[in-house]
């Protein structure tokens, strides 16, 4: 891309008098807005014709890396291929044009889709019921914790104000607990990355509302003693929450409900292949075991005895966490994916995701430090290079990978290790792709030993080089107007 011509902001391409859209007009007489209520200063939006806008955003897209452009081994993000049919199915005009307030008798197809996906997720999660309303995984966590509070409150147990999370947990877990008004307590992990069940047991008392876990955990290790943990937590009167971010490798193998979890969320944008869209929209359905359904948020979709579908609201529900039934178009993509894979394809996805992860791990363990030497599931963690003498950090390795045409793994997470490099290949990557990635990682390890500068100053071939994050945070410039003014 030629930066001089095309690297501008749309505001810099704006010219007085240009427009890129013609607005329909029914030709009704002019209505007046009282002057005191009307806008005083005209907002400075861009003025641009359609070709300019199209070329601008098309060129911008060329500065982006996506699953469709290359391998994206981002740990805990499950960057699998996003099938094209799903995009078409969610944009069918008869789905995309429905108003959320349209009467149920005119939206039977949409409601059937919602209900069918809800049932499919219940089957996959081993749960009684799901709500698809939460807008993201974090929103699902918040909703799930509200379900747990509503459950304890329902029999007058208001003393349970603590949530226990492992120190390896995703950052959203403690943040969601805090938003839900719960106090977070961390339980330590053992050296093998699994939860210290004895330490957990000692922390359980009648102030604990829930224990949040993900299984496999963020180090990609299956928590084999999960049944013991769920058991002791239940005996203490608390509930078990399953963070579904790492559900992918368990497809067809084991279900959170069968492991003893009471409440869970699923990230449709991870396990069920809806596109990440540069950060959203996601979808975080929440499932509950038998007996907790009544606390799920309003509105809910039900199948009536005559086979039709309806929308209900209940006074026992925790309240509502959205105006609508959630990110419906995302739900449709996930349904399309589940139908495309079917029960046998889903089971195969989990196995292949695990095979791909172990293959990379075993191919690089001689050059990268493997702090947990066990069979992993969908992902695993290196603690930087095995040879630390070069001073090349995980950040440097991540940046150098960009030069090789790969997205970087997740870095500096989990917090268990100083130089965490968390790799999740997913099942949709071929052996050839994995071999290319392995070769790149081996080349980088060699470069680190022979010519560390080239790694430490990477990337060299990307549209921009390493940005000055400190300057950005010291003096936040977050709009075109601020940028224009700061340039003087």
């Amino acid at each position: 891309m030629n930066k001089e011509y095309y690297g501008k902001l749309i505001f810099e391409l704006s010219r007085e008098g240009r427009s890129g859209a013609a607005i329909p007009d029914a030709g009704c007489p002019d209505a007046q807005i009282p002057a005191a209520l009307a806008r005083v200063h005209t907002p400075e939006l861009p003025q641009a014709d359609e070709p300019t806008v199209v070329r601008h955003y098309t060129n911008m897209s060329a500065n982006n890396f996506g699953v469709d452009t290359g391998f994206y081994p981002l740990g805990s993000c499950t960057m699998k291929y996003n099938p094209k049919i799903n995009e078409e199915m969610c944009s069918l005009p008869a789905m995309a044009s429905l108003h959320p307030h349209a009467p149920a008798e005119t939206t039977q197809g949409a409601l059937e889709a919602y209900w069918t996906l809800q049932r499919a997720l219940s089957e996959i999660g081993g749960m009684a019921e799901f709500t698809l309303n939460p807008f993201s995984g974090a929103h699902g966590e918040l909703t799930g914790l509200m379900v747990i509070r509503a459950y304890h409150d329902s029999w007058g147990d208001h003393a349970r104000t603590k949530v226990i999370v492992p120190d390896s947990a995703h950052g959203t877990n403690p943040a969601s607990a805090a938003v839900a008004g719960l106090k977070v307590v961390e339980v330590k992990s053992l050296p093998d990355g699994t939860v210290d069940a004895d330490a957990l047991e000692a922390m359980l008392d009648d102030s604990v509302a829930a224990v949040m876990m993900t299984n496999p955990n963020t180090a990609g290790i299956f928590e084999s003693n999960v049944a013991r943990i769920t058991d002791m937590v239940h005996r203490a009167g608390a509930l078990m929450y399953y963070d579904g971010a790492n559900l992918n490798p368990m497809l067809g193998i084991a279900r959170p409900g069968d492991m003893g979890f009471d409440v869970m969320h699923i990230n449709l944008h991870k396990t069920f292949s809806t596109p990440h869209g540069g950060g959203g929209p996601g979808s975080g359905p929440v499932g509950v075991r038998d007996g907790l359904e009544k606390f799920l948020p309003n509105p809910r979709v039900v199948k009536n005895s005559d086979g039709t579908f309806g929308i209900t609201a209940s006074g026992e529900a925790l309240g509502s966490i959205s105006a609508t039934l959630g990110n419906f178009a995302v739900q449709l993509r996930a349904l399309s994916y589940i139908l495309s894979l079917g029960k046998e394809g889903l089971a195969e996805a989990g196995l292949l995701a695990t095979l791909n992860a172990n293959y990379i791990k075993e191919s690089l363990r001689d050059l990268y430090k493997l702090p947990i030497d066990r069979v992993c599931k969908h992902e695993f963690v290196f603690d930087g290079l095995a040879d630390k003498n070069s001073g090349v950090t995980t950040l440097d390795i991540a940046k150098r990978l960009l030069d090789y045409g790969f997205h970087a793994p997740t870095i500096y997470f989990p917090l268990l290790f100083h130089e965490s490099l968390m790799i999740e290949p997913t099942e949709t990557e071929s052996k050839e792709t994995l071999d290319c990635f392995i070769k790149a990682m081996r080349d980088i390890a060699r470069e680190a030993a022979e010519n560390p500068e080239v790694v430490k100053t990477a990337p060299h071939t990307t549209p921009v080089s390493r940005p000055d994050d400190t300057a950005a945070a010291l003096n936040p410039t977050v709009t075109w107007k601020e940028l224009k003014n700061s340039a003087g």
């Binding site: 400190t470 950005a472 010291l474």
Partner: protein, 126 residues
């Protein structure tokens, strides 16, 4: 005569009579890297030993400020609002808050400079 004490969470408190200033140690500012923001309490706030009273942020980390002693905030270092990197330049001169001590006996549980130095060395060895 003022005297400086340190906590295990790397805050220092320099005491002069009933009055004290609190900041973060050189060890802490080095570990954090370039400071981009200091979240401070307001004048009149009460701080309690062992509880957080603010945070220091770098680009990709944030560290809670844990009160080494209890007291009432009488002044905050306004210079840090515009130039948080002063903490990196000279962390001892650029304290974060000034307080009136409510319980000087709390100082007994803190480390003096030598003890803190030894503590940091043992931390770095890990």
């Amino acid at each position: 005569m003022s005297k400086t004490y340190f906590s295990k969470t790397h805050e220092y408190v320099t005491v002069d009579g009933d009055s004290a200033v609190i900041g973060i140690s050189d060890f802490a500012q080095k570990a954090l890297g370039n400071v981009v923001y200091v979240d401070m309490p307001e004048e009149g706030d009460e701080i309690t030993a062992g509880e957080d009273f603010g945070a220091v942020e770098s680009v990709k980390a944030a560290s809670d400020l844990i009160a080494p002693v209890s007291g009432e905030v009488v002044e905050t270092n306004e210079a840090l609002v515009d130039n948080p990197r002063l903490v990196n330049d000279d962390c001892m001169a650029n304290w974060i808050i000034k307080i009136t001590l409510s319980d000087p006996s709390e100082l007994d549980s803190l480390m003096d400079e030598d003890a803190y130095k030894a503590f940091c060395e043992s931390e770095a060895a890990h």
